[in-house]
């Protein structure tokens, strides 16, 4: 009797699993029916330079997020004479992981503990800040909707940022609350029209994130925080996550690659070709302050023929 019951349970479960699997497939298939205005390629070309930078009258202004030789936070550096500028409100973030701009020139900043937790207390890490394009003032923008609070065993929260002009969305990765054997990270989609989280990809520990419109649809690429692996997930026409993550490549497998993780994705267009650049970092859910002279970035070219990123070269970051 018990055996029969077990078989019935197993068969019911398998039928349910098959049903859900079909549902997921249907969703993915839908993404291949591309929206009318869908354009293969870059999605962040609309990003503007913040208005306040224009008023600084620098000859060659650059946004410096390297966190080297100063007490943390974003800097605006004039590359012509190496002078720097920082609004006093920018110290709020402490040291930072990533920054991003939107179509109005507002900036978004994800904090990151660097040498110590003094300027980056754990309870203030799972949030992002906004720098107003006009006033340059930094304010808390959004606390991630999570019950997980960073602590001394995992002091990290928000990690990577990427803006998609098509949907006016900001994607934010967070590893708050993740444990050695449990991925509790989330990638959030924030709709900048209403400043709300509208979609989440859960149980994913990611650092770098980036969106690109591929031949088969809009995809968000992300670097695992635990392995040198790059994954992707389809996004629908509203930028919401669709289906499960797909393995794309590993930076340990390419020539000159390493067992590091992807901390940043940069998509660009050169000579009519789409290039994806991945910047690496060594990450083990502990502070990252070491000065590594061997850090690399890896360049890939998008192959339209087979919808794949083909490795080109690696060079020093």
């Amino acid at each position: 009797m018990k055996k029969i019951l077990l078989i019935v349970i197993v068969m019911t479960l398998s039928a349910m699993a098959y049903f859900f699997w079909q549902q997921q497939n249907n969703k993915i298939i839908k993404t291949t029916h591309l929206p009318p205005k869908f354009k293969i390629g870059l999605v962040n070309g609309c990003r503007k330079i913040p208005q306040f930078i224009n008023r600084l009258n620098m000859r060659q202004p650059a946004i410096d997020s390297k966190q080297q030789d100063h007490n943390g936070g974003l800097l605006i550096r004039d590359m012509s004479n190496n002078s720097t500028w920082q609004d006093e409100s920018w110290t709020k973030s402490g040291y930072l992981a990533a920054f991003e701009r939107d179509s109005k020139g507002n900036m978004y900043v994800a904090p990151l503990p660097y040498v110590s937790l003094t300027l980056n207390p754990p309870q203030k890490q799972n949030q992002i800040y906004k720098i107003d394009t006009q006033t340059a003032k930094m304010d808390l923008y959004l606390k991630m909707p999570s019950s997980e609070i960073p602590n001394n065993k995992n002091p990290f929260g928000t990690m990577g940022l990427f803006y998609d002009c098509d949907t006016n969305s900001l994607y934010v990765s967070s590893v708050a609350g993740s444990l050695p054997k449990q991925e509790k990270g989330v990638i959030y989609q924030i709709d900048l029209n209403n400043n709300k989280v509208v979609s989440q990809l859960k149980h994913v520990d990611a650092i770098g994130v980036g969106v690109f419109n591929t031949l088969k649809g809009k995809k968000l690429y992300f670097g695992s925080a635990r392995k040198p692996h790059i994954y992707s997930v389809y996004l629908d026409e509203k930028g919401h996550f669709v289906g499960d993550k797909n393995y794309e490549l590993s930076i340990s497998e390419i020539q000159g690659g390493n067992t590091t993780v992807a901390k940043k994705f940069v998509f660009s267009r050169k000579n009519n070709k789409f290039i994806m650049t991945i910047k690496e970092t060594e990450f083990g859910f502990r502070l990252l302050a070491e000065n590594n002279p061997n850090k690399k970035k890896y360049h890939f070219e998008y192959s339209l023929a087979d919808d794949k990123w083909v490795f080109l070269a690696a060079d020093n970051d």
């Binding site: 040498v115 001394n152 060594e282 502990r286 502070l287 061997n294």
Partner: protein, 589 residues
């Protein structure tokens, strides 16, 4: 049906996973060949192939250019000619000697073979335009720089057409090194223990063996992983061919699809240290000494319940932070937390588990030292740090809580201040703290601090403080003034005494950050527990000790310093550690 089977398989796997995990966790501790003690390097010295190879390497270092070649007998004539053309090209041999002192570096040709279509890239296709059958690819590995150089050779015209160099990149191995890697793996006691001698030798017919890529990201050595496949599992043995040694082993499940599985030095070391020393408290006992220990998220290695002859003498000792300041840059420096390599708030991390060393003086074994190493992975490159915690336990009941810096930091104007917390146990309820004023012991009445200076008075024996119970039994405290024979120049320490509150955490639990990096005065962090100053009478006490150590990078006077040298053609890191920390001498116990 396929999915039904899949589901059943997953259910079974899930039910077994915890058992499997337990078994695998058990195996982790058995990496001990190198990962714990890093001592058993003689294990492979009897391998004939390795002996012959080492001799060839030695000979190659005195040849010009210093390159170990693939022998003529093992290469077709044209491939051998390609090798000769390449090594006579000054551009190809540019990195074979050290640029500053011209010392020969260890180099070895890995491949000399005909050009394949895949070798032609956008970078070199212009130069290789006319290549047909006459072009060869010659690959050389430089063990000093962990770098590969590739020459494209036209053997017909005896000409090098193009040269590419790849930093931090390892080429495919030549046959000799492949054989050596397999021999090291097969002769390793750890590997034999895992898969059984009978399965490895003599024919290896029962198991499938392959040579997988691996990496030694930390040592920057040439590493490869002979892999033994048994059933649905594979044992990876990471072999370090720069040292001729085994790094460690790891079992993995075999998967048919999905992301690639890779086992590397960094992964192995991090996971080993984390699971064995961060996630669990261990016990250690030797002679009359017993204690527990654990690596903390950010307070270094903490030893607890320290007993001598079954009597508790110290409840806890740990190192909360290293403050590093630079005199020529006001306010510039770091507060470095030391701790676990994964899931921690440490910036300088434990590389291995603790090591134990004998303390020998005048051919007499006086006790042992319990040592924990912490490093930033790129150390000793500039602005990266290495620290050590050292606990010395003597047969006569003395003990010392010490720490050392190994450089190299961001300059030669650095001062290091480790924040050490010690809960000495002489009486659970009432402890007294006194200072020698030159004539007598003066009891401290309230929480306070003291700075050890050049005019500080010590007893004849060199004692400065005494912590004791009401029967005057306890410990004398002897600060380091360079008398301990470890090359130290003295502590110049701030000492603080605070009340140990049972209901208030003043540093007992892991502290995320302690004080500012760059204060030069007593404000190093512990002073926050002195305000307002409490009475010490009838209280259990905590001693905080903050030595101040000035570094020196001047040749001949190095202190808290490290430098990379050439030895046998590879990198050898020379260190000048600076030790600090007081000795505790029992009295009346």
């Amino acid at each position: 049906m396929k999915y039904l089977l899949l589901l059943i398989t997953f259910s079974l796997l899930f039910s077994c996973s915890s058992e499997q995990e337990k078994a695998n966790q058990q195996k982790l501790i058995e990496y001990s060949g190198k990962l714990i003690a890093n001592q058993d390097r003689s294990e492979f010295s009897s391998i004939k192939l390795l002996q012959q190879y080492k001799k060839k390497v030695k000979d190659s270092l005195s040849s010009n250019p210093p390159i170990l070649l693939i022998s003529k007998e093992t290469l077709p004539d044209e491939a051998y000619l390609a090798q000769q053309v390449a090594i006579n090209n000054p551009e190809f041999t540019r990195f074979t000697k050290h640029p500053q002192n011209n010392i020969a570096l260890r180099n070895e040709i890995m491949t000399s073979r005909k050009l394949l279509a895949a070798d032609i890239s956008t970078n070199n296709k212009g130069k290789l335009k006319g290549c047909k059958d006459q072009c060869y690819r010659v690959e050389m590995y430089n063990f000093f720089y962990n770098m590969s150089s590739v020459a494209f050779v036209d053997v017909k015209n005896k000409q090098v057409l193009a040269i590419n160099t790849y930093s931090d990149a390892q080429p495919d191995l030549n046959n000799n090194l492949k054989n050596i890697a397999m021999a090291i793996a097969k002769n390793s006691t750890i590997v034999i223990k895992e898969i059984g001698d009978s399965q490895i030798n003599p024919t290896m017919s029962q198991i499938k063996t392959s040579l997988k890529n691996s990496r030694c990201e930390r040592s920057h050595h040439l590493c490869v992983a002979p892999t033994f496949v048994i059933g649905d599992r594979a044992l990876w043995a990471i072999v370090d061919l720069t040292d001729g040694d085994l790094v460690g082993v790891r079992w993995t499940e075999l998967g048919e699809s999905g992301p690639p599985i890779e086992v590397t030095e960094r992964q192995l070391e991090n996971e080993f240290v984390f699971s064995e020393f961060c996630e669990k408290t261990r016990h250690f006992g030797q002679g009359d000494w017993q204690f527990d220990y654990q690596i903390t998220p950010s307070d270094g290695l903490e030893i607890t319940a320290v007993r001598f002859k079954n009597k508790v003498v110290m409840n806890s000792a740990k190192l909360l932070d290293w403050h590093v300041s630079y005199s020529t840059r006001e306010g510039f420096g770091y507060s470095d937390a030391i701790g676990c390599p994964l899931f921690s708030s440490a910036v300088v991390i434990a590389y291995e588990g603790p090591q134990i060393k004998k303390i020998i003086k005048n051919n007499q074994e006086l006790g042992f030292a319990f040592i924990q190493d912490f490093r930033q992975p790129p150390w000793p490159t500039p602005c990266n740090y290495r620290y050590e915690q050292r606990f010395e336990f003597y047969n006569d009941g003395r003990f010392r809580v010490a720490a050392a810096d190994y450089g190299r930091g961001c300059g030669t104007d650095g001062t290091y201040r480790p924040i050490i917390r010690m809960d000495i146990e002489v009486d659970g309820k009432s402890e007294n703290f006194a200072q020698w004023d030159g004539k007598t012991w003066q009891k401290w009445q309230k929480e306070q601090w003291h700075l050890q200076q050049s005019d500080t008075a010590y007893t004849e024996q060199g004692y400065l403080f005494k912590i004791s119970n009401d029967n005057d039994s306890g410990f004398y405290i002897e600060p380091n003034r360079g008398q301990f024979g470890d090359g130290s120049k003295g502590d110049f320490a701030f000492s603080y005494i605070t009340v140990n509150h049972a209901n208030k955490d003043e540093g007992k639990n892991d502290m995320v950050t302690m004080g500012s990096c760059c204060n030069k005065n007593y404000q190093q962090g512990p002073e926050q527990f002195l305000t307002p100053a409490e009475n010490l009478a009838q209280q259990n006490l905590v001693l905080w000790y903050v030595p101040q150590i000035k570094n020196n990078g001047t040749p001949g006077q190095e202190y808290c310093w490290a430098d990379t040298r050439v030895e046998n053609g590879i990198k050898n890191i020379k260190v000048w550690p600076c030790y600090a920390g007081p000795m505790f001498i029992p009295t009346g116990l």
